[in-house]
Symmetry: C2
DNA sequence: GTCTATATTTCGATAGAC
DNA sequence: GTCTATCGAAATATAGAC
């Protein structure tokens, strides 16, 4: 183990302190944005929520828009981390689609704040995206969203090939499936006493409904 | 026909002039809210969009929040007007559900602006709903949203009884179905050249997917 | 009924102390 | 690295002319 600087050896080891601080800000920001929306959230609110002041936030993020982008990007990271292994897992198209849908539903529930911020609309708040940096970030996020939809689309097409999934308009089907799940950011709110088993039950029921439809099978 | 006031008979008949003006404001507001969101939309923008000034808007609506509520209420009116006849129409549960889903999908496409404002979140912007009037309006809109979900839930239950629809968690199924359709406010934007037939095709495809699911039928 | 002008507040961002 | 103090821009709402 590398010895720490002798001059400050009495201080507790604070590895990656600034990264941790950044994450704390991200969580506080996600919660504020979720509750009030982008414009109605002031930097003061975010700082107060984590027991700090504006100066701290501006020390870690150059502007409010960058903070907003960082929140959405982190939410997307979580989506990919959950969905990609499921999409690339074993089984035929239908089995993998089920795995992806359940994983995505769980992601929605377990990071509602981050996901709802994404739902609020990336492009909306950056309509006049002033700086080139912001325009680039906007394009980057749009690209990742498209990539996520393509991930699901690929599973659908694989299923259409192996016969486990009914052929149809892939783009529109992806919108329908993701819409049903992403809509959870509108109505789902974690309850103090709820457990993972309960969330898994919801995820399974939703996936069932989407896979099998609502009409009675012959 | 009742004769108009003789003193002003030379003026062109302007029946319901203020009501028309109100509607114009409503449309302009819906479009601005759709593009920029509630907080980022200024009263000036709304006025400019209809070639007027702030004073006009404040003459018809006491505050920005009331205008926002009025937009959402009108959007809900459109939803009920389309869905209720379909829900109360002829046929078994599955047939009526199909009619409701297609009607709702069409409503989403043909009044995107109004519907997207609703998606933005009623409760979000009124978190601290200051005046009692605003709190009452908030409760009113929440009640109507619940009533709309109940409308669909009733059709589902009727279908479960007559055997046309698979039994299941009604509340969760309603959320899934409405989620898939309401999500259109996120991605659907009317194109200059699109026609009603195209929208109907989208509505039918979406309803098909939700009714039959995506896995291949045995 | 619609406009202009303005009072008042709020917030993003910066400067600089510690 | 975090805080206090403050500037300047923007927007809601109002007052009053026409």
């Amino acid at each position: 183990m590398k010895p720490r600087d002798a001059q400050h050896s009495e201080r507790p080891a604070r590895v990656n302190d600034t990264a941790q601080r950044r994450d704390e800000i991200l969580v506080a920001a996600a919660e504020c944005f979720m509750i009030n929306g982008f414009e109605a959230t002031s930097i003061d609110m975010i700082a107060r929520r984590m027991g700090a002041t504006k100066g701290l936030v501006y020390h870690h993020f150059p502007a409010k828009a960058d903070l907003f982008f960082a929140v959405i990007e982190h939410g997307m990271d979580l989506c990919f981390q959950a969905a990609r292994p499921a999409a690339e897992g074993p089984g035929d198209g239908a089995a993998r689609l089920r795995a992806v849908l359940e994983a995505h539903a769980l992601t929605m529930m377990e990071s509602v704040a981050f996901q709802k911020v994404n739902t609020q609309g990336v492009e909306m708040h950056m309509h006049g995206a002033s700086t080139p940096d912001q325009r680039a970030m906007l394009a980057h996020l749009t690209g990742r969203r498209d990539a996520f939809e393509a991930l699901i689309g690929d599973v659908l097409e694989a299923g259409a090939c192996d016969g486990s999934i009914a052929p149809g308009d892939v783009r529109l089907t992806v919108k329908a499936l993701l819409g049903a799940l992403n809509w959870m950011t509108i109505w789902y709110r974690p309850r103090p006493g709820d457990e993972r088993a309960g969330r898994q039950a919801i995820a399974r029921t939703l996936a069932d409904t989407l896979l099998n439809g609502v009409v009675r099978r012959a």
